[in-house]
C-alpha cells in the first residue's frame, strides 16, 4: 500500500521530467535509489510499478532499476566507519551507542534512460 503511493509520486515526477526535457525517444529505464533504511521494499515497489506503468503516457515500456545504498555507522568512540545493511543502535565494531548514521535513507528518483533511436 505504502509503496503504491511512492510509485505514484515517482511516476508523476518522471512524467513531468520527460515532458520538461522534451524527450523524443522511448523511456527504457527509471533508476531509483532506495536506501536500506528508507523503509520501502524494492519488491513491493517493482510490483506497484508493474501495476501503474501501463497506464502512463511515457513509461509504458520502461523497467525499474533499484539501487540499494547501505547506511554508514560513524562511531564517535572508536572512529570506525561501518557499512550497515539495517537498523543499528550501536557501533558494530566496538559496541558504543555514540554513533551517527549517515545515508541509507534515500528514496530517490535518480535518473531516466531514453532510447533515442526509436525517435
Amino acid at each position: 500500500m505504502h509503496e503504491l503511493g511512492i510509485i505514484e509520486q515517482i511516476v508523476q515526477i518522471a512524467e513531468e521530467e520527460v515532458e520538461k526535457a522534451d524527450v523524443q525517444g522511448t523511456v527504457t529505464k527509471l533508476t531509483l535509489r532506495v536506501g536500506k533504511l528508507s523503509g520501502a521494499s524494492p519488491e513491493a515497489l517493482n510490483t506497484a510499478f508493474e501495476i501503474i506503468a501501463p497506464n502512463t503516457t511515457h513509461l509504458r515500456g520502461a523497467v525499474l532499476l533499484i539501487e540499494e545504498p547501505s547506511a554508514i555507522s560513524l562511531c564517535h568512540s572508536c572512529g570506525a566507519e561501518t557499512e550497515v545493511g539495517g537498523f543499528v543502535i550501536e557501533c558494530p565494531a566496538c559496541g558504543s551507542p555514540d554513533i551517527t548514521i549517515t545515508g541509507g535513507r534515500d528514496l530517490q528518483l535518480a535518473s531516466i534512460d531514453v532510447d533515442d533511436d526509436t525517435a
Binding site: G5, I10, I89, L107, A110, S111, D113
Partner: protein
C-alpha cells in the same frame, strides 16, 4: 540518453508538511501527530484528554482511517471540532491529506490540532504532517517487544504513552523493559504510563501537553 533527476520522493511530502506548519503557525495552532497501532487506544485517549483539557486548550482533531467516520463521530460528541480523512487503503497519512483537511477546520477558534494517524507502527513514522510534537501510544496487550521491533517509530517521537496499564497483570508486558528499549533508541524520550479506560495517568499527560503548547506559544510571541 539519460535524464538525471535526483529528486527525493519524501521531500515532496516534507515540503507540504512545512507549508502545513506555516499555516498552523499563522493561526497560532500547535500541531500534534498521534501515532500507534490499531487498537492501542488512541481515540479513547483523546476522548479522555479532551475532558481533562477542557478550558485549558482549544483543540481540534483530524482523524485518519482507511474507512468510516466512527472515530470522528466519537470526537464530535465531545463538541471538539473534527475532520475525518479516509485514506481508502492508504496505510499512513500524508501531508497533502492533512493540507486538505485543515481547510475544513476553523483554525482561528483553535490553538491545538491533534492529528490521529492511521493505526500503524511502520510507515506513519516516515511522514511529517506539519506537527511540532509527536507521541506514540503503545498498549500493554501489544507486548513490550514492539519497541525494539519497530525502532524508527520510537526513535522519531518525543513521547511514548504506555496505555492499558490496568491490564498489566494479564499480560507479560514489562514497563521497565519497554522504557529501557525506548531509551536505547531515543535517550530523551518522555514516558507516560496510563489507562485511558480508568483515567490513570491522564492528568500527567495532559499537563505535559499543555506545557508544550504554552512553551511554544511563549516562543512564538
Amino acid at each position: 540518453m539519460q535524464v538525471v533527476v535526483a529528486k527525493e520522493i519524501l521531500k515532496v511530502n516534507d515540503t507540504i508538511a512545512k507549508e502545513n506548519m506555516e499555516v498552523f503557525d499563522r493561526n497560532g495552532v500547535y500541531g500534534i501527530n498521534v501515532l500507534g497501532s490499531p487498537g492501542s487506544g488512541k481515540t479513547t485517549l483523546l476522548e479522555k484528554l479532551f475532558v481533562e483539557l477542557d478550558g485549558k486548550i482549544r483543540p481540534g482533531v483530524i482523524e485518519g482511517d482507511l474507512e468510516t467516520s466512527r472515530d470522528a463521530e466519537r470526537i464530535d460528541k465531545l463538541g471538539v471540532p473534527v475532520v475525518q480523512i479516509n485514506t481508502g487503503g492508504g496505510c499512513h497519512l500524508e501531508a497533502n491529506m492533512v493540507q486538505q483537511a485543515i481547510t475544513s477546520l476553523d483554525l482561528s477558534a483553535l490553538n491545538t490540532v491533534f492529528v490521529e494517524n492511521v493505526g500503524n507502527l511502520v510507515c506513519t513514522s516516515g511522514y511529517m504532517l506539519g506537527e511540532r510534537l509527536r507521541f506514540v501510544v503503545l498498549s500493554t496487550t501489544e507486548g513490550d517487544d514492539k519497541v525494539s521491533k519497530y525502532p524508527p517509530m520510537f526513535q522519531r517521537t518525543q513521547a511514548m504513552v504506555i496505555n492499558k496499564v490496568d491490564l498489566l497483570e494479564f499480560t507479560d508486558f514489562s514497563v521497565e523493559r519497554a522504557i529501557e528499549d525506548a531509551r536505547k533508541l531515543n535517550p530523551d524520550i518522555e514516558v507516560f504510563t496510563i489507562s485511558a479506560r480508568t483515567g490513570e495517568g491522564i492528568p500527567e499527560l495532559a499537563k505535559w501537553i499543555v506545557g508544550k503548547v504554552q512553551a511554544w506559544q511563549g516562543e512564538a510571541s
